[in-house]
């Protein structure tokens, strides 16, 4: 029966190790994603959406 415990221990150790690795990586990627999402190219989208709506529908109309 001991092998079951050994297996569980190994799985735990490996998953903890993987999660730590992922966390280090995710700090950098999520920061990059955050900064990229704030770039002026990415921000142009919101304005385009709004301009389209302004030219089309009237404000205060929820489009329903």
């Amino acid at each position: 029966m001991t092998w079951v415990y050994v297996l569980i221990a190994v799985v735990l150790v490996v998953s903890v190790w993987l999660m730590r690795g992922r966390r280090v990586e995710s700090g950098m990627t999520s920061y990059r994603k955050h900064i990229d999402a704030l770039s002026s190219e990415s921000r142009r989208g919101v304005r385009e959406v709004n301009d389209r709506q302004r030219n089309g529908r009237r404000p205060n109309d929820t489009g329903k």
Partner: protein
């Protein structure tokens, strides 16, 4: 299908941006309630028209007026009605990003997000108003550059320095354009002996108010109630008088801007001299205000091109890029 929403819950005006659609609602943050039954009678523009003109049993109020939530129940009802009006229900369950004045407390924040969830939002997140303003005003906040944004609203004025996607320094005061109206009201009462309403004072401010001498110095006729006789009376106000009336209020707003500048690290402070500070919010539209701030701080001031919509556009950007910008939501940090 639910469409996610971004809301600028301002002290004076509420704007809603719908994902993929743009701004779908823009109206005063006012609610009119029947005092006796507790029923909501009107919201938005309709309620705004009632301010100062209601019979005793109706109250028309701005629940966020001073940049703080004075009546949680009324605020909650306003948020629920707002969400209902843009089509949120228990069945649609959109994600909602809400901008609130940074001066509000933890308890008030919780009240706002709870109200949104109870109204049917699947998730409600808050973001700092100056951050949204900077995104909406299109400042290069993703770069290691000192970006300074000043948002002068109705009940609050907030200045912030932003660099590398985050707030470096923040200064928020509960003084704003409503206080300018109040100082005009107080001045007319003191110097001319007539009482005028809040809305009349605002009209005077927009018509002839200024922070520095301007080219057009035309006067305005103001109607109110004579304090002695109780009868309606008209007086003429000059722009110079209005400048005197509002000077103290303007000084406290400008002082808070100076405090924010003083909080900025030196590396970023030098950027302001070149790049200037960006002004957003309706209060920033006061004539001569950019020049006055410039004179008192020695830092150039630029007007953002959509001063009244910058905050909701910034919040709208956050709802369009919800996952990438999650880290920016208040409460996301520990």
């Amino acid at each position: 299908m639910a469409r996610d929403l971004a809301i600028d819950l301002g002290t004076a005006n509420t704007l809603v941006y719908m994902k993929g659609r743009g701004i779908v609602l823009n109206e005063p943050s006012v609610i009119a309630v029947n005092r006796q039954t507790g029923e909501v009678l009107a919201t938005g523009r309709e309620a705004w028209q009632m301010i100062g003109r209601t019979p005793g049993y109706i109250v028309a109020v701005r629940p966020l007026r001073g940049g703080a939530i004075t009546d949680f129940e009324i605020t909650e009802r306003m948020i629920r009605l707002l969400l209902q009006r843009v089509g949120v229900s228990r069945f649609t369950r959109p994600k909602v990003v809400i901008c609130v004045p940074s001066a509000i407390t933890e308890v008030e924040r919780r009240a706002v997000t709870d109200a949104a969830r109870r109204a049917g939002a699947a998730d409600a997140q808050l973001i700092e108003q100056p951050m949204a303003a900077a995104i909406g005003a299109d400042l290069p906040i993703d770069e290691p550059i000192g970006n300074m944004v000043i948002d002068i609203g109705g009940g609050t004025s907030e200045s912030a320095v932003i660099s590398l996607g985050g707030i470096v320094a923040l200064e928020a005061v509960r003084v704003g354009s409503f206080d300018i109206d109040a100082s005009i009201q107080a001045y007319v009462r003191r110097e001319h002996g007539i009482a005028i309403g809040e809305r009349t004072a605002e009209e005077v401010k927009v018509a002839i108010g200024s922070a520095a001498e301007t080219e057009d110095e035309s006067q305005a006729e103001v109607r109110g109630r004579d304090l002695m006789t109780g009868l309606p009376r008209t007086v003429v106000l000059t722009p110079e008088e209005v400048r005197v009336a509002i000077d103290d209020t303007l000084s406290s707003i400008i002082d808070s801007i100076k405090r924010c500048l003083a909080k900025a690290p030196p590396e970023l402070a030098q950027d302001f001299l070149v790049r200037g500070m960006y002004l957003v919010g309706g209060g920033g539209l006061l004539r001569g205000l950019p020049q006055r701030i410039e004179k008192e701080t020695n830092v150039p001031v630029r007007m953002s091109n959509m001063p009244l919509e910058a905050v909701v556009m910034g919040a709208g950007h956050c709802i369009e890029h919800y996952d990438a910008l999650k880290t920016m939501f208040m409460g996301a940090r520990r």
